[in-house]
Symmetry: C2
């Protein structure tokens, strides 16, 4: 009944000449996003994309990835962005999973796009973005955007998806190592945008900077919030501190979202002291825990700026709880809540449960479960994983937490072993599988160790095959060819003896972690 | 996936002993609303109420009408409150339309409940609310609330309605005179509560006063907002200024919603000057236009209080646009927008359209159309009226309006002839039908005239049958037996000659209104 393209249409009607998206010097107004969106959607339809079909996107942040996300549901199709940081075999696995009809790719990824087209027979056409002419074997995004739509308004209406239809697939790595496409509906996005946008005091014509990658929902959800609240998005192609500071000045940025690691890099940069940040009104942070000393530094460095913390995950589209600006005001009764991830948003029904899913009393720690209109429809093509994740009608986050007497949520760790490094989720099993493909590796265990810059860093403990030999550098280089850089171990402990086993004959990661932390402590003193 | 009873369950989990509902000295905590709600829902199920069945409620504002609204969806049933101000034939028409299985009635309406049971064979049981023992031919609400639920959690889960299912029927009078049951889904309520609650800065444990009748959506929607935001509702059985002032003091009321007429009565009352209103934080107003001099008086009389205006209608569940607290701050750039009804809420896609439904450019006046997750599912049992109201996928409000360059909505009158008197909608045809049943009335026309207290008052122009005679008082008394008091004319112009006709041979109301306004002006000078 109302979908993101409808917000674009409304914005084009209310405020046609206002800026909608800016990236690297180019700006589109809402009227342009509307006109180009209709043209692009009609062109995709002409290329064979029908309702429910996937359009994959492979590229850095740009005008076009936002346009694509907003245009694709006009014909009832599904936006499926691919993480460009993945290694080629991982990208191939994503596309084999979602079997897109069209792949959109930017200039740095055209070679990979050809390889993916060769590997995935579902892909009928590759569309190249950017202002340069497209290669002969591809269509041009710009040319399609400029060609008047061949569909009438009534035809668009007949094709457009419904509230409960999937609008996008955002991929997360699973504990099994197989990529999982999280199916998010229009209603999911609508509920999340409304809840988060209103708590975050969003308003028309605000200048927001999009820093994080738009294939990830922390930023990808901002596309939806922007359309709903008629916000101007300035998109950074790639994160870089001097660029960030320059753009905040030049575009008079008022709000942005960042992971704590980015804020630390910003504060540590020599350009920070001289940057003009006077336009800034609010910074939202999340995706990994904020160390209290960093929070203190940020608040001191940006006086007058309001802060908001969001906690969530792709499956919750993404926000489950918010520590609102009011909770960040020094001297207020809420200031003591900075260690929490805030209050569950109004539309989320949140439970703390024991391993059997029974609710636990206030104050007790258990797995965080949630239901409500923001929870995903399920995992693409994975009914069993979906049933497990949504068992009993609640999404099982895998995070452990507890609620204090005021209802604030506190995170107490993870019930699964996921590592969060620089805001990216790393599931140890993927890195372990990569290491085990090396002929010299007999056993391995991957875990997160505390790291001042990355929050956690990926560390591996490896037992070599008796008689074999491999250096740390060699094993790291081996992993790099199989998994994304952020999943590759930053450090490896190589052992000759077997790894310790738990009572159930699995590698005892708890014992290993204890040993490693003790070593780190000794090294520090 | 998340419905209002789920919010009750969550609140009972997070804050069991916090106050949920207070009325006439009795208070229920969230734990009690949860426990009683499960018991009541199970009892209704035992009385034969199944998913999709209606439970009608006839009574003044009370604890029980709120409990009923929150409990009924636990078994997938539909809450159908009846306007107690209607005449008995009108009430009968509503119940004949929605064919409830159970009728809940309060003490003042038990006789009427018997008459309705006799007239409506669908009613299997009448439940009497209140602490007094129920009559022998009825069940007791209190006894059912105290009897442990005979349904297991799994049985409740199986019965509960889905997001897109109808949660409530709220009746409005139609232009045809036949009552229309507006079907509102959980998603409708969820979207409206989220949008309005967050703009209105609602928060847990706030003390809100519910003044207006809970069978009307202006107040009925507050039940949903309260559950979502864990607010304490203090319910007034009936509007009365001294009571209002006393309760604000005694319960430390922080927020309430009122129609402008009520605010005028409050300011005009001799007790106002001495009342302690220091707890008040925000007043929301709506349902009829706010005269600027009244707004000015209210703002002077309640310094430090924030104001919010909501514009909408039952079919929009109900809020289409909001003039936010920030728009009411004297000296702010938005203060000049007080004459508007604010910005469309984020989830509403609003259009101004010509009579054919084509969008008009900004600044031009046309019918206000809206779509989005707040728009009703349709009218109960009236597929043709539904198709007309939702033609082209947009709800046709019947109101005329225009959007200014900043996107604020201005109301320019009504495309239909509805009269708004004291916040109640009166459709002239209903009153005209009542007048025409009097043997002396040959022709009549009912229209709204400006009125200092009521905004508009219902006025009738009557042409008598040649040779017949009837006084104004006699005709008013006649109407009173057929329609609600607020639909009865407050004044009647009796004519011996025929009424003027328009080119299409209908009574020319435009000419009549012109004559009446000219007379009023002469009388005033």
């Amino acid at each position: 009944m109302i979908r993101h393209p409808d917000f674009v249409t409304r914005n084009a009607h209310l405020d046609p000449d206002a800026k909608a998206i800016t990236c690297e010097g180019r700006t589109l107004t809402w009227a342009e996003v509307e006109r180009r969106g209709r043209n692009l959607a009609a062109a995709l339809h002409g290329l064979g994309v029908g309702p429910g079909d996937r359009v994959a996107y492979l590229g850095l942040n740009s005008l076009e990835i936002m346009e694509c996300q907003l245009a694709v549901p006009r014909i009832g199709a599904i936006h499926a962005p691919v993480n460009w940081r993945l290694a080629l075999p991982e990208k191939t696995a994503c596309l084999e999973d979602c079997t897109p009809v069209v792949l959109v790719a930017d200039a740095p990824h055209l070679e990979e796009a050809r390889a993916l087209r060769a590997a995935c027979p579902s892909i009928r056409e590759v569309i190249a973005t950017g202002l340069a002419p497209a290669p002969a074997d591809m269509s041009s995004w710009e040319r399609l955007a400029a060609t008047p739509a061949a569909l009438s308004p009534a035809e668009f209406d007949a094709l457009a998806s419904a509230d409960e239809d999937v609008a996008a697939l955002f991929y997360t790595s699973g504990t099994t190592g197989r990529p999982k496409g999280v199916m998010l509906t229009h209603q999911n996005f609508l509920s999340n945008s409304l809840a988060v946008g209103l708590i975050g005091e969003q308003r028309p014509r605000l200048n927001q900077l999009v820093i994080g990658p738009l294939f990830h929902l922390a930023s990808g959800s901002r596309t939806m919030v922007s359309a709903m609240f008629r916000i101007h998005s300035v998109v950074m192609a790639k994160f870089d501190v001097p660029d960030l500071l320059r753009i905040i000045e030049a575009e008079r940025i008022q709000v942005f979202t960042a992971v704590p690691t980015m804020l630390a890099m910003m504060l540590d940069h020599p350009d920070f002291a001289s940057a003009d940040l006077s336009s800034l009104e609010m910074i939202t942070y999340g995706a990994s825990p904020m160390p209290p000393p960093l929070m203190e530094r940020v608040m001191k460095a940006a006086p007058g700026v309001r802060f908001m913390q969001a906690y969530g995950m792709t499956e919750a589209s993404p926000t489950l709880s918010v520590l609102a600006p009011a909770h960040h005001v020094p001297g207020s009764p809420w200031f003591g809540k900075l260690g929490s991830v805030g209050l569950p948003v109004a539309t989320v029904d949140l439970r703390i449960a024991d391993p059997d899913g029974n609710p636990l009393p206030q104050g007790e720690t258990g797995e965080i479960l949630a239901r409500g209109p923001q929870i995903m429809k399920g995992y693409w093509n994975q009914p069993e994983a979906t049933a497990r994740a949504l068992e009993g009608g609640f999404y099982h986050t895998g995070d452990a937490g507890w609620l204090d007497a005021d209802g604030f949520l506190h995170i107490a760790g993870r019930t699964r072993e996921m590592i969060i490094s620089g805001g990216e989720n790393v599931y140890p099993i993927e890195t372990e599988n990569a290491l085990l493909q090396h002929p010299c590796v007999a056993q391995c265990a991957v875990l997160g160790l505390p790291d001042a810059t990355w929050g956690e860093r990926v560390h591996a403990v490896v037992a070599l095959v008796p008689g074999a030999d491999a250096s740390e550098a060699e094993l790291i280089a081996h992993c790099r060819t199989l998994v994304a850089g952020y999943k590759t171990p930053r450090s490896i402990t190589i052992r000759r003896e077997e790894l310790p086993l738990s009572a159930t004959s699995k590698i005892d990661k708890i014992a290993l972690r204890r040993e490693l932390l003790a070593e780190l402590e000794r090294a520090a003193t």
